[in-house]
């Protein structure tokens, strides 16, 4: 597996009036080419902030405080803004929950795609760019006629396809999708997940799929990263994380997810309490106030990252050999 992006000790801080909020706190992980990494966790745990940080697009009062992000060997955090702008869109592209916010309501879809292509590839003629857009959108299951439509004339599912299409038109290596299916109905969502799967196979796309929908991750992701209160709790292959769950938070989260299968029964576990305020997070393991397995050490010291088996790691004292 070829590493595409290596994130090391990344910290992102929002300077708020009440004090600094480390929305991403000392997070490290590797993204491999051609994989779909699902990023999950409760609201406010830092998923979107991490996604924006990968594009160096964290908005003030937030900023990247420390760490490294090696993209194909180059540290993105050391690139001049000009270089970063070229990379953005061209190599790393983003899809949001509500594509309306990234599309200009007064611009036809086709013109938008043509303009985006020509910004990054000025040598391409308008006609060439339009033809490329038409080919792509057809591949995405939308009639090329629709290029003449304005964003509001398309359904939510079509708009999401177009956003992915813009990334593809520029041959992006990495797509960061933040809740891309959250506003879609279940059949349209499933159609879109099928499309993502096909595109990954066809173009060897790499994708970070940010979602609160555990089912979507189980359906599509190769690996899963679980965040809790700004920190990484667990990362591993999707089967390992679901069936050989390590971190007590992951266990609680998975057990609270409703399943449509009748044989899974009618009982749901409920995680007690709520995630902590990031202004004043608990010391030690941030999950300890809610953790059914907390030990005295959990209240005092931050658990180190443990690679429990190759490719499957967690930050939890239960797996610290010296402690155990």
């Amino acid at each position: 597996m070829e590493p595409l992006l290596q994130v090391e000790n990344l910290t992102v801080t929002y300077e708020t009036r009440q004090g600094p909020v480390h929305a991403v706190d000392d997070v490290s992980f590797t993204l491999y080419r051609g994989e779909i990494l699902g990023l999950v966790g409760e609201s406010g745990c830092g998923k979107s902030t991490l996604g924006m940080a990968l594009l160096r697009m964290v908005r003030p009062p937030g900023h990247i405080t420390s760490g490294k992000m090696l993209f194909l060997g180059r540290d993105l955090l050391r690139l001049p803004e000009e270089e970063m702008r070229k990379l953005r869109g061209r190599h790393i592209s983003m899809v949001f929950q509500d594509p309306m916010t990234s599309l200009n309501p007064l611009q036809r879809i086709g013109d938008h795609i043509v303009e985006t292509i020509r910004t990054h590839e000025p040598q391409v003629s308008k006609q060439e760019a339009w033809d490329r857009a038409a080919q792509l959108i057809q591949r995405l299951g939308i009639s090329p006629d629709r290029l003449k439509d304005y964003p509001h004339q398309l359904s939510g599912g079509m708009r999401q396809r177009i956003m992915i299409g813009i990334g593809l038109a520029l041959n992006a290596d990495l797509i960061i999708a933040d809740e891309p299916t959250t506003s879609l109905d279940v059949i349209v969502e499933a159609q879109f997940l099928d499309l993502l799967r096909e595109l990954r196979d066809e173009f060897n796309l790499t994708m970070v799929l940010i979602t609160h929908n555990i089912g979507v991750v189980a359906e599509l992701a190769d690996r899963v990263a679980v965040m809790y209160a700004g920190r990484m709790a667990e990362i591993g292959a999707v089967r390992d994380v679901f069936h050989e769950t390590l971190h007590p938070y992951t266990k609680g989260l998975l057990a609270s997810v409703p399943s449509i299968r009748l044989e899974d029964g009618l009982e749901l576990e409920t995680l007690s309490g709520a995630p902590p305020s990031l202004l004043d997070p608990p010391p030690g393991c941030r999950f300890h106030p809610r953790c059914p397995q907390a030990k005295p050490v959990c209240r005092e010291a931050v658990p180190a990252w443990q690679e429990v088996k190759p490719g499957h790691g967690t930050a939890c004292w239960l797996y610290d050999e010296e402690e155990a």
Partner: protein
């Protein structure tokens, strides 16, 4: 006892709601016929005391409109609605008022449902006053504290004077539930009540709604686009498509033996939280057509993988599934 022997709390027949759509100047000039969104177009169902009937379907299928019609927050275009045996279809507001206490809504967005300038305690007491349910100030406070404790806002003394912005989203929805239940309603129409909450909070709210149903003997109309959530609370489920019910029955029967091709697609599309259970079934093509000009015959026919000629001509009536008399489906071929 089959459901048919029981006296229903709500009985809806041929219920319709058409919303006129704004006509453009050109339409008026050329005298083109007035258009209407057929949000609900001929719906029949009963809700029996103590049960939860789920209303499922994709957005725009008419779930919310149906719920608002049952609550008589909307004037029906056609059909009848009986509540506890009384015809309320066109009951004027003054006659509805005594019934309003008995049918309470819970909506999706608790923030929008609560007045930001009222404390939780004031919001709950407001309903008690309107319906003259408290004997005096002390009794009112006792009832408010009582219901706060019942919905898990404990200790209630700490919550009674809080404003909505001082609560989390999950706590706000508990307050909305408290405000509805303090009136001791018979029917609660819950429209996507947990859709805005976080995964872990959803499980908690769902459990709370189940517990309160038992404790207060409530009847729920539970509106949701999430069929996985529905499994945990609904006794029976109705699946809507373009303003009509395409399948209805006891939830275990509908989920284990879905008969309508649309229900089958909907159930198959729900992602299962298990990577070993990835979907293999194909999906229907395209998206839901406009409810302004719904397809003739069976409304699902343009997307149906097994449609035949008759489907394009005639609307299929709801009829019982073989061997499952309480399970009804509207499909010519099933």
């Amino acid at each position: 006892m089959t459901t048919n022997d029981r006296q229903s709390l709500v009985s809806v027949r041929n219920l319709k709601k058409y919303f006129p759509v704004g006509q453009g100047l050109l339409d008026k000039l050329f005298n083109r016929e007035a258009l209407a969104v057929r949000a609900v177009d001929g719906v029949d169902f009963d809700i029996y005391p103590g049960e939860t009937l789920g209303l499922a379907g994709e957005s725009g299928s008419g779930k919310t409109t149906t719920g608002r019609l049952v609550l008589r927050l909307l004037e029906p275009t056609d059909g009848t609605i009986l509540f506890a045996g009384q015809d309320i279809t066109h009951l004027p507001e003054s006659d509805l008022r005594p019934l309003r206490r008995r049918m309470q809504p819970i909506f999706q967005d608790p923030t929008a449902s609560l007045n930001p300038r009222m404390t939780i305690g004031q919001a709950i007491a407001h309903g008690l006053r309107i319906h003259h349910l408290a004997e005096n100030a002390a009794d009112e406070r006792r009832q408010v504290l009582d219901i706060l404790a019942k919905v898990g806002l404990t200790p209630p003394e700490q919550f009674i004077d809080k404003y909505p912005h001082q609560l989390s989203g999950g706590q706000r929805q508990r307050a909305v539930i408290a405000r509805a239940l303090v009136l001791r309603p018979d029917l609660v129409v819950a429209d996507e009540p947990i859709a805005m909450a976080d995964v872990s909070v959803r499980a908690v709210l769902l459990q709370l709604m189940r517990d309160l149903q038992k404790e207060f003997g409530l009847t729920y109309l539970f509106i949701t686009h999430d069929l996985a959530t529905a499994k945990y609370i609904c006794d029976r489920i109705a699946v809507m498509y373009l303003g009509q019910i395409v399948e209805i029955g006891p939830l275990p029967q509908v989920y284990s033996n879905p008969r309508h091709p649309y229900t089958q697609a909907l159930l198959a599309a729900v992602p299962v939280p298990d990577p070993d259970a990835r979907r293999t079934q194909p999906l229907p093509k395209g998206e839901i057509p406009s409810p302004i000009h719904p397809p003739a015959g069976c409304r699902f026919h343009p997307r149906c993988p097994i449609a035949e000629d008759v489907c394009r001509r005639e609307p299929p009536p709801l009829h019982p599934v073989e061997g499952e008399p309480e399970h009804l489906v509207a499909c010519h071929l099933r």
